[in-house]
Amino acid sequence: MVLPVGFFAVFFAWPVVSIVERGLRPDGRWELGGFGETLTRPEILDVLWFTLWQALASTALTLLVALPGAYVFARFDFPGKRVLRAVVTVPFVLPTVMVGTAFLALVGRRGLLDAWWGVRLDTSVWAILLAHVFFNYAVVVRTVGGLWAQLDPRQEEAARVLGASRFRAWRTVTLPALAPSVAAAALMVFLFTASSFGIVQILGGPAYSTLETEIYRQTADRLQLSTAAVLTMVQFVAVGVILAVHARTVRRRETALRLVAAERTARRPRGAGQWALLGGVLLSVALLILAPLGVLVERSFATPDGYGLDYYRALQEVGDNGTFLVPMTDTIVNSLEYALAATAVAVTVGGLAAAALTRRAGRLVRGFDALLMLPLGVSAVTVGFGFLITLDEPPLDLRASWILVPLAQALVGVPFVVRIMLPVLRAVDERLREAAAVLGASPWRAWREVDLPLVRRALLVAAGFAFAVSLGEFGATVFIARPDNPTLPVAVARLLGRPGELNYGQAMALSTILMVVCAVSLLLLERLRTDRTSGEF
């Protein structure tokens, strides 16, 4: 418990607090008047309004598209289901920069639609919304579908026997059981879309700005720390409220439901209606998820003189335009090293936090549980900038140390580790440990012999997720990664920011590599995953 709390205090609370303080107290005096002034500026109000409505619209659209998907994945049995389930999860662990890039390749300048029909959706809000659906589809399918698959169909059958119509039985039995998990998923999607940075940065252009991109602009471009601090505070409060509501709905979801093994509830689709539903879901997956990924890969090979590996080859050389000081291949190695270090930190901190949360109960612990989720919603930009201004002086001078980047990345990995480990650790029956103790195992031995084998898979899954999100972390890394050592997402963003065929192609090639790394690690995890380890993500 001490280590995770300390980790969060030093690497999350301290940077965030001190940057807010720097913004609100520029010369030793609190200037809270900035609040009213900032929050009434029309352009800031525009930003707040856009953040809110695009997040609401994204959430609604995601639910609309993904809920049928959740049903299909939960209740239908069809060939290739396992692979497809892994595929729809790929976008979620993909770096947001890459998701943005993939959509750019589909609907943007020189994108597929542009080339075919001259349609461009970038710098339109539709591109942002579609990318958000792409990104969060898996959140809904996993949270809602995971529970749906385990709901005992006999409950519905009991209602049918008692005289309820098919729809009535669904509405009165299944829907109430699902509602909390739908709400939880919706809140998570809202949280992710409201704090979306990479996607809006790449697809929104100058026209659209969310709270998060505005914080970045105010901090990095304009050095308006006071405005950024006010916005951070606003975001902090909003995220806190959302997380509190989320914690409540999740707790409600944990109330006794009759759960059965997921394999037992899935059936082959029967009748035209069910086949049509399955077909519709598969089509939407193909259009929304496979198409952007496919186009991205296609673009990375499409050179001006036909298909070829030119862009990939160019990655091995130091660019002649001075964008980077090292070849891109170094960037890849670099990213992997950072991500591995971040994974180690995230698994250690998150694992200890989850273990502490399992053993204790009470208000304080629940508060800590919610606190662990904060980095998911609080501006990564703020954290990154906070790192720069707090960790550059004794006692902790890490500015020159490579560990700074993995630490920031670990921060976003920890919530996933905790979310995945907690249900599994809680599911280990205390009496199994007691049985081991009665048979002569000391407490440490009992943990090693009983807990560890049961949670090993979950630990691997958690490590995989932490690895993927660390690899894709952008908001904080963009601040603290040094120019000579950029990570993949940072390099992609920089390439996209420069004109020229070669830069664009290289960005596509790098993104493809990133996607393949993420997808491969995820597919490996999907093999490991069993029903016992089905956490929230």
Partner: protein
């Protein structure tokens, strides 16, 4: 072997174990019998060290166990729902305690074989525990508990989750096995049939206290209190004034055995002690219900006065429902309860 003196466990204000004194001798099989919530599982957990005592002491072979951690007490405990380790196969489960005690591989293998033979699952070592039926799981749990040769084996509702036929077969098997091995056993159950078939001595618990202790026959024949009598399934209990060889009750004069305690008492009449007599000579009753029970017929009688009366008749002379009969009572099936509770 095991001695509990004044063992007390409180959950909040409620005493789950209330100053319990209990002795279990070497090679003795003691069964604690009581309704759920009477504190019997807590008793086992306290002996195993899984539950700290709020008062009193647990002694094993005369040594105070206060402060001795669970894994050093050298007792065995078979959990109610077995708690087999799901990630290990049958042999892995049985060998677990041996490994914890540092037994070598070769000896371990031999002992596992021996135990699986003993519980009737020879050659099952490689099977996954999830593939076992309820009865097989129970056997594996037993083998696992016996493997390290615990000085005291405790069983928590050992047969609770099994179906009836299997339960009756296993309980005789268990008794034979424990006799053969000379195991000292402390078991808890809510099922009197199980307790009576398994135990040398039965201890009835109520609300954290011991209500009665004795051989199965003693307890069955002369329940010490109305609680014990009701728990054993006897419902014909009425207040009575005992004078000499007869007692005055709301059901009239009832003969009592010689040497019964005298004065204001509670009287138990076993259903088998109710007999039909000639009209006008006994207690007039209306036959309210009649249930066929295989070997006998259970009849509920409604006397003119007083509570309903449960009776048992042989098949051929059981009265029909709705009939009016006169009944009398047999002294050897009447018990004057010693206890003070009503």
């Amino acid at each position: 072997m095991l001695t509990l003196t004044g063992a007390t466990v409180r959950f909040g204000a409620r005493a789950v174990l209330d100053a319990v004194d209990l002795e279990v001798a070497d090679h003795e099989i003691v069964c604690v019998l009581g309704p759920s919530g009477s504190g019997k599982s807590t008793l086992l957990r306290a002996v195993a060290g899984l539950q700290a005592l709020d008062g009193g002491r647990v002694l094993l072979d005369g040594a105070d166990q206060t402060g001795v951690p669970v894994h050093r007490r050298g007792v065995g405990l078979m959990f109610q729902d077995h708690q087999l380790f799901p990630q290990r196969d049958v042999a892995g489960n049985v060998a677990f305690g041996l490994r914890m005690h540092g037994v070598g591989t070769a000896e371990r293998g031999a002992r596992v074989e021996e135990l699986l033979d003993l519980v009737g699952l020879p050659g099952a070592g490689r099977r996954a525990v999830s593939s076992l039926s309820g009865g097989e799981q129970q056997r594996v749990a037993l083998a696992r508990a016996l493997a390290p040769r615990p000085r005291l084996l405790m069983l928590d509702e050992p047969l609770g989750q099994l179906d009836r036929g299997l339960r009756e077969r296993l309980v005789t098997e268990l008794r034979r096995l424990f006799r053969q091995l000379g195991t000292t056993v402390l078991a808890v159950t809510h099922d009197q049939g199980e307790a009576f078939a398994l135990a040398d001595r039965v201890v009835v618990m109520n609300d954290g206290r011991i209500a009665q202790s004795g051989t199965p026959l003693d307890v069955w024949r002369s329940p010490a209190s109305a609680f014990v009598a009701r728990f054993l399934g006897f419902d014909n209990i009425v207040p009575a004034t005992v004078t000499g060889a007869a007692a005055d009750t709301v059901w009239g004069k009832v003969p009592v055995p010689d040497g019964s305690p005298q004065g204001e008492r509670l009287l138990l009449i076993r259903p088998a002690g109710v007999r039909v007599t000639a009209a006008g000579e006994g207690l007039g009753c209306h036959v309210a219900a009649r249930t066929f029970r295989g070997g006998h017929v259970a009849v509920t009688l409604r006397p003119a006065e007083g509570p309903l009366l449960e009776a048992e008749f042989p098949l051929r002379d059981a009265p029909e429902a709705g009939a009016e009969v006169d009944v009398e009572f047999r002294a050897e099936d009447v018990v004057v309860l010693d206890g003070e509770d009503a």
